[in-house]
Symmetry: C2
């Protein structure tokens, strides 16, 4: 009987800390999902940054392809920052993601807006447009990492 109560309490606790369970089976899945989406985005953004910095040759088609993936990925992570995912898995998210959620959302919106411009910039075929957009987008990455991610 005592075991049953403990198990029920544990189950209730899990339920309470996992209101995002409609989308993610476990809080750890939400953390892994947001990290995965951001990692894939970062890899493709890195290729654009390398072109902008002259580390790899500028290739308009590749730039447009990479920017399209960056834009698609940029929309995904946010649904995975639900309540109960603040301490799960190997998250590096700072408590401010939840305690100052309006500011976090604003930072996410800014990033998505710059990514939209970045995508457009890769379609002009001008390296200078890419450089400017990579700089502006990179600034929004840094802003969010500085304020909302532990090292």
């Amino acid at each position: 009987m005592k075991k049953l109560i403990v198990m029920t309490a544990a189950w209730l606790l899990c339920s309470m800390t996992l209101p995002v369970s409609a989308q993610f089976a476990k809080a750890e899945d939400a953390v892994k999902y947001r990290q995965s989406a951001l990692f894939v985005m970062g890899q493709h953004f890195g290729r654009l940054a390398a072109m902008a910095q002259g580390k790899i040759p500028y290739d308009a088609k590749a730039a447009a392809d990479n920017a399209a993936v960056v834009e698609a990925m940029s929309k995904l992570p946010w649904a995975a920052f639900g309540e109960g995912t603040d301490m799960a898995g190997n998250t590096k998210a700072k408590p401010e993601v939840w305690s100052d959620n309006a500011k976090f959302k604003e930072a996410a919106d800014k990033m998505m807006a710059e990514v939209g411009k970045l995508n457009a910039a890769t379609k002009t075929g001008k390296l200078d447009d890419l450089k400017a957009a990579v700089g502006a987008t990179g600034g929004t990455c840094k802003n969010c990492h500085d304020n909302f991610r532990n090292k």
Copy 2:
């Protein structure tokens, strides 16, 4: 001098085992990238499977949204299975990915073809269409996991 030769040899070895380095800075990044893309895809496919199995309510809009992400993600992992990434990071990929690469590519193509049909099936608004497409797509996931991924 000896140190220089060793370092040069090490560098050559890295270069030889990393012909994908144009896209990924490290073989570990390629592994993390393909696992990340497949994880994100799996999460969205899981929601479609849950609808098909009646575990969550059928929602035509949500189904279409999830299928669109599944399709976008389904194109990404393959570029990250380059030479030199067969033993990197915490990969679960079997040697057959590289030793029987034509079969692996065929399996990937089959999956992408079924995912395309899955995406179309979510646009008819009919749960039965979703059920059939989820079944067919799931079969291609299983086929590839059985043949090319260690447990």
